[in-house]
């Protein structure tokens, strides 16, 4: 969401503003002197500039001022704002796209991805009952046993709580895990590797990773909350969890989700996304400066990759404790930042009680969406390990190397007993060594590099065979891998086979640049890393750690701390220099850039495991002529599953580059779009559900209507009584009864929803003459006039009455749905075109409650309650208003009729409305008074041919089309819309006119929207349409059905027979005058 700087109120969310189109398009001084073409140019033609563009905005939900902004239409950046009436500034500068500071050391290997954000709780906001930020165990792995039931659980390693065993069910079998496990780690501990079958080919698939990038182990949770398609690697284990594997696709729950979801806005000087080594170092530099800092990380505990490698545990713990204690720092654990939008507006979802299972407190939201506006952002989002496209690379037991490292050190789980490690870079070696130390038999490290350097020596020293210049050419096994075939890279001879139940793969590292890219950042190809890294961005964003392509731990820490310091310094705070650990420098040999590996003939080489897309599929795409990764993505669906290609995107790009024989740097990546990980609709909807989905506006009399059985109609956000059925009545019977009371006796209606605008100032009359088509300034104080407003194109925009309260004061009423639009319209003209007019407009819609008292007996009822009011027609004529007490309540009584009957509108304070209403009900009882609703109001007005703007009109209708020439002044030199009435188009004889329609069978009802045709037999299509029904009712007064319609040349067709296709019939109808009841107007005075 853009942050738009209101020239008065300062930066506010875009949602508070209305767009007003191109600026500096002044209303012509003398529209009458313009040719049709010149006038049309003013009305309809606007520039369509690429780049800086001056446009009008209104701070509609704020100070209601119109102003001008120069916005770059290609970047959406607001370059400057200035007040209405001011000149456009000569030059305005775009925000420069700044490069990421170059890291001290370029790409060096380190390990794993670095935390991709995370959790709930938070300083001072965690409500009681929610498990907060307490760190999980310290990694010593001490605790009770239970390993007999978890054969792959390491006896000591891991950060799991061995004293808190957890029982869960997967595919119908009960298992045990520990608090601190994910569903995936607990399954692995129990020897369950396969977690589903693939979506297209039905091949068995196993747990492939330990994080959000998981493509295979996407499972269905059945209880306690049904939820589809969750990566088992991200589901924290809790007691009572019931999950099932999926054939690549989940099922939506059939019952409503009973949990609460909510949202909260947050603001900060610095948001740090990811609390791995880089994010923690950045936070440490900023923590005590006083700057408002938010740290968000998707894991239950801070540390990121350090949790997986078990490095620097003390520093992680100390830093986390310092952050939790820092008053200006908010740490959000279990919180995934999933969207990065304009002006550093970021959305995150915090999983607050999911991990508590059925123990989750009911009054705490299960998930919370954070809407964060940050002055600066550091993205320390880590990197994802990439796989390789080799033959049969999808069997259960194939796993990303660093993920296995995480399973061993963080979860105390051995993902297999006999492992082969296949790598193109250094990062898999520490994993191999760690697994060997943990008791896994590492059969071989297969490295595509001919000379892997020091790391290979260390592996050999540990007794691990290293095959240099080799690659994996195939695998065996069904439910689990059983053997791995290797051969010299690129050759088929010299094969060797290893028995193994685990094949670890590392094809290199992809910085998690998703958020950076969403923020508008550009990526560049890094030759050394062989992947895409963040480059330039217009927003105040810095990327730190492996997300920036820096892979050695010491470099990551230094870069994070420097980024944190730079960010808060830029906001005027003084950073501290945190004491950073100094990890030992590690040997480094450059990675080899490999995407595809030749292997066994006809064996599939998968690129996107979740979509079952293979190298052959991509070859078909390039063979069909695709030359862009955006096209191959859509052709093959690679990267479109709910993992959004986190492990496969760059791999697919590399494969396509090879197929096309081009460099991957020339291909680029596909577009990263929010959300980074899937977010449920329930979380996005938050509390805007049910009764709070949309505001309900009610009048002061609402409760009375409810108590008296009214059914309600939505008019905009208002709830208006529709009709008041009595026992057993249907709508038709109730409306006929209500209409009869209004026409024959007396009835009353709550008309409080009409928009009301107080227009004050010496130029009020001049102003209203410009707005309305008819003359308003000649209205006498004490009198009322009906008026119509048009847009400059001459089309009717709104109508209502104007009451003259004083020489310089009018009260304007608008239609219920248009109140805000009319006020905005007035302000727009006053502020942008006619600032010299001394007039002000103020909404008073809710200052007054209005009751319409209608019917031949209304005078008696009013007279009995207003002893000081002379109610006789000659004393209180039509279209006059009086101030008096009604039922002892100060009131302004207007003689206005929207029904053709003698009628009054009584305006009182809404605080007194119920007393007035009850008094009218009582005083009217002898005359049979009843309340009526909007349906009856519509019937009564339609019988008189009064149009409803927005129902009978649609923005293409002039007052003349409505037969209201009388409301268009010929005396006024100009008013909005006048020039358009002289356009050829508005004078066409075949324009649609408002007419009445009488079905020849008086009982036949024409649905609104019914088309009208000339002939009794439908001709072959296209059938010429003459118009359509806009309103249709049954009339008590006419004793028949009738309708209003907009019909081409309708006034000239009065008396003609037309046909209305209703269902499979052509209903004959007669065109009539729209005024069907009391055409002489005899009933108006009672």
């Amino acid at each position: 969401m853009l942050l738009i700087p209101c020239p008065w109120c300062g930066p506010r969310d875009e949602a508070e503003f209305h767009y007003g189109g191109q600026a500096h398009v002044p209303y012509p001084e003398d529209p009458a002197s313009l040719s049709d073409e010149e006038w049309a140019r003013y009305l309809f033609f606007r520039d369509n500039t690429k780049g800086p563009f001056a446009e009008r905005w209104s701070h509609a939900a704020g100070c209601r001022r119109w102003f001008n902004a120069v916005r770059d239409t290609s970047t959406n950046e607001i370059l400057t704002v200035y007040r209405a009436g001011e000149e456009r500034p000569e030059t305005v500068e775009s925000r420069p796209a700044t490069s990421q500071p170059s890291p001290a050391n370029p790409a060096r290997p380190a390990l794993e991805d670095e935390a991709v954000q995370a959790e709930g709780g938070s300083g001072g906001t965690a409500p009681s009952g929610v498990e907060g930020a307490e760190p999980l165990e310290d990694g010593t792995g001490r605790g009770g046993g239970g390993e007999t039931t978890q054969p792959f659980r390491h006896p000591t390693r891991g950060r799991i709580h061995r004293d808190t065993p957890i029982t869960f069910t997967f595919d119908g079998t009960a298992y045990q895990g520990y608090r601190g496990d994910t569903l995936a780690s607990a399954l692995l501990a129990n020897g369950v590797l396969q977690a589903g079958t693939s979506i297209k080919l039905g091949r068995p698939r196993g747990i492939f990773s330990a994080g959000v990038e998981e493509p295979n182990a996407v499972i269905q949770i059945e209880a306690p909350f049904p939820e589809p398609m969750l990566p088992a690697t991200t589901v924290e284990l809790y007691d009572g969890l019931v999950a099932t594997s999926l054939p690549g696709q989940g099922r939506l729950a059939t019952e409503p989700d009973p949990a609460r979801y909510d949202a909260v806005h947050a603001h900060c000087d610095l948001l740090i996304v990811g609390a791995g080594p880089a994010g923690l170092a950045a936070a440490a530099a900023a923590a005590t400066s006083g700057a408002r800092v938010i740290v968000a990380d998707d894991q239950p505990e801070l540390g990121g990759t350090l949790l997986g490698t078990a490095e620097l545990p003390d520093w992680v713990e100390e830093t986390a404790a310092r952050l939790d204690a820092a008053p200006a720092v908010r740490v959000l654990r279990r919180t995934t930042v999933f969207g990065h939008y304009d002006d550093n507006h970021l959305l995150a979802v915090e999983r607050r009680t999911n991990h508590l299972g059925a123990q989750a407190p009911e009054n705490v939201s299960r998930e919370r969406v954070w809407r964060i506006r940050a002055r600066r952002v550091i993205l320390a989002t880590g990197a994802h390990e990439r796989s390789l496209a080799f033959a049969d690379n999808d069997r259960p037991g194939v796993m990303l190397a660093a993920s296995a490292h995480t399973y061993v050190n963080r979860y105390g789980v051995l993902p297999g007993r006999h492992a082969v490690v296949f790598t193109t870079n250094d990062s898999a070696y520490p994993t191999a060594l760690e697994l060997a130390a943990a008791g896994v038999s590492v059969q071989a490290v297969v490295d595509t590099r001919p000379e892997p350097g020091e790391w290979a020596e260390r592996a050999r020293a540990a007794g691990i065979e290293v095959l240099t210049g080799h690659a994996v050419t195939g695998t065996e096994g069904d439910a689990r891998i059983t053997a791995v075939t290797v051969a010299p890279y690129g050759e088929s001879a010299g094969q060797r086979e290893f028995a193994a139940d685990l094949l670890l793969v590392s094809g290199g590292w992809n910085p998690v640049a998703h958020l950076f890219s969403q923020a508008g950042g550009k990526l560049r190809h890094d030759e050394e890393l062989g992947t895409f890294v963040p480059d330039t961005c217009r927003q105040a964003v810095e990327v730190a750690g492996s997300a920036s392509g820096v892979l050695d731990l010491g470099g990551v820490l230094a870069q994070g701390a420097a980024a944190g310091a730079r960010a808060i310094e830029a906001e005027g705070y003084t950073p501290e220099t945190p004491a950073l650990p100094k990890p030992a420098a590690q040997p480094y040999t450059p990675a080899m850039h490999v995407f595809t590996v030749p292997g066994r003939e006809a064996a599939p080489r998968f690129v996107d495991l979740q979509r079952d897309v293979t190298v052959d599929d991509l070859a078909r795409a390039t063979g069909a002529g695709m030359r862009s990764v955006e096209h191959t993505k859509r052709y093959t669906t690679a990267g479109t599953a709910n993992d959004q290609g986190k492990t496969s995107g760059v791999l697919a790009g590399g494969v396509v580059a090879e197929l096309l024989g081009v460099d991957i740097s020339a291909l680029g990546t596909t577009t990263f779009r929010p959300p980074y990980t899937p977010v449920s609709f329930a979380a996005l909807a938050g509390r805007d559900r049910g009764a709070l989905h949309d505001p309900i506006r009610v009048t002061a009399l609402h409760q009375w209507h409810v108590e008296h059985g009214a059914l309600f109609e939505n008019v905009g956000q208002w709830k208006r009584p529709w009709y008041y059925p009595r026992d057993g009545e249907d709508m038709e019977a109730a409306v006929l009864r209500e209409c009869a009371a209004a026409r024959e006796g007396v009835a009353f209606m709550d008309a409080s929803t009409l928009g009301k605008i107080d227009v004050q100032g010496p130029d009020a009359g001049v102003f209203l003459d410009l707005l309305y088509t008819n003359m308003i300034s000649t209205l006498k104080v004490g009198m009322i006039r009906y008026g119509v407003m048009c847009r400059p194109d001459g089309m009717v925009f709104d109508d209502g009455t104007v009451i003259r309260l004083a020489p310089d004061r009018f009260l304007v009423t608008t239609t219920t749905g248009n109140a805000a639009a009319v006020l905005d319209w007035m302000e727009e003209w006053l502020q942008t075109e006619w600032p010299e007019l001394k007039v002000h407009c103020t909404s008073v819609t809710e200052q007054w409650a209005t009751v319409a008292l209608v019917g031949p007996k209304s005078r008696e009822v009013l007279g009995s309650l207003a002893p000081r009011l002379a109610v006789a027609s000659e004393d209180f004529p039509f279209m006059a208003w009086r101030e008096t007490a009604v039922a002892g309540i100060e009131a302004r009584v207007c003689r206005i009729s929207f029904s053709g009957e003698l009628a009054y509108e009584i305006n009182v304070s809404p605080w007194q409305a119920l007393a007035l209403w009850q008094a009218l009900y009582e005083a009217g009882a002898p005359y049979g008074i009843i309340p009526y609703g909007t349906e009856t109001m519509h019937v009564l007005r339609a019988e008189k041919g009064y149009p409803i703007i927005g129902q009978d009109t649609d923005g293409t209708v002039t007052p003349h089309d409505l037969g209201m020439n009388w409301v268009v002044s010929k005396k006024k030199p100009d008013f909005i819309g006048k020039r358009s009435f002289a356009r050829a188009d508005t004078a066409r004889p075949d324009r649609k006119h408002l007419v009445g329609l009488l079905p020849e069978d008086p009982g036949t009802f024409l649905p609104e929207g019914t088309q009208l045709v000339a002939d009794s037999v439908l001709p072959a299509p296209p059938v010429p349409m003459l118009g359509h029904v806009t309103s249709s009712y049954r009339s008590a007064a006419l004793g028949r059905t009738f309708a209003l319609a907009m019909i081409k040349g309708g006034r000239e067709r009065i008396g003609e027979r037309l046909y209305a296709p209703v269902g499979d019939r052509l209903v004959p109808v007669t065109v009539a005058s729209p005024v069907l009841y009391d055409p002489e107007g005899a009933r108006r005075d009672g």
Binding site: H267, R697, E846, G888, W911
Partner: protein
């Protein structure tokens, strides 16, 4: 008839919600206090801030109209809210709207001013307590941190799905006023009570 109606007490937009607001306030044990402040006098004033009327009106009211956007000036029981460069809302104890209007018109003399009684247009919700900011942050996009929205500031903005005038009161522990259009008041009360679920 007329006499009985006269005796009928005025009914505020949130009269029906008073019990629920009070119950939530009690249950939160000080975290949240919610209450309607009904019937406050509210008068909308429009005049040229640079013209002669501005000073004259300020003098007559004993209250300088604030010129800095989104700020409040308080004098005794009366408060003037900046709503726009030529627009203010005067808020005071109930029943004072006529007096205020005539004083302003008198002070302005021949200078053009617009004065409109809008006391019933909006009602006022008091939102205070230690978690008041957290409660409002569930639906208000403004930065309500004391550094950004200190006591004495006001803003026309949105809360939940409705427009409000938000005032950070400048008395100790006074919390916020939330002025809301009367027709939206029921929605907003429901919204606030629902948002408070976690704090009660």
């Amino acid at each position: 008839m007329a006499d009985t109606a006269l005796a009928a007490p005025p009914r505020s937009p949130l009269a029906h919600a008073a019990d629920r607001l009070a119950a939530a306030t009690r249950a939160s044990r000080g975290a949240i206090r919610l209450a309607e402040l009904p019937f406050l006098t509210q008068v909308n004033v429009r005049l040229d801030a640079k013209g002669a009327a501005a000073d004259a009106v300020g003098l007559a009211l004993g209250l300088q109209l604030p010129l800095e956007p989104d700020t409040v000036v308080r004098a005794g029981e009366s408060t003037a809210l900046w709503l726009g460069p030529d627009e203010w809302l005067l808020v005071g104890p109930p029943g004072n709207e006529r007096g205020l209007e005539s004083r302003i018109r008198e002070a302005a003399g021949d200078e053009p001013v617009s004065v409109t009684d809008v006391s019933a247009q909006r009602t006022t919700l008091l939102v205070t307590g230690s978690r008041a900011r957290d409660l409002l942050a569930h639906g208000c996009p403004l930065d309500l941190h004391p550094r950004a929205f200190e006591a004495g500031r006001c803003a026309q903005t949105t809360l939940g799905r409705t427009q409000v005038v938000l005032v950070s009161r400048d008395e100790p522990r006074a919390g916020f006023w939330v002025l809301v259009r009367s027709s939206f008041a029921g929605y907003l009360a429901d919204w606030l009570l629902d948002a408070a679920t976690e704090y009660v």
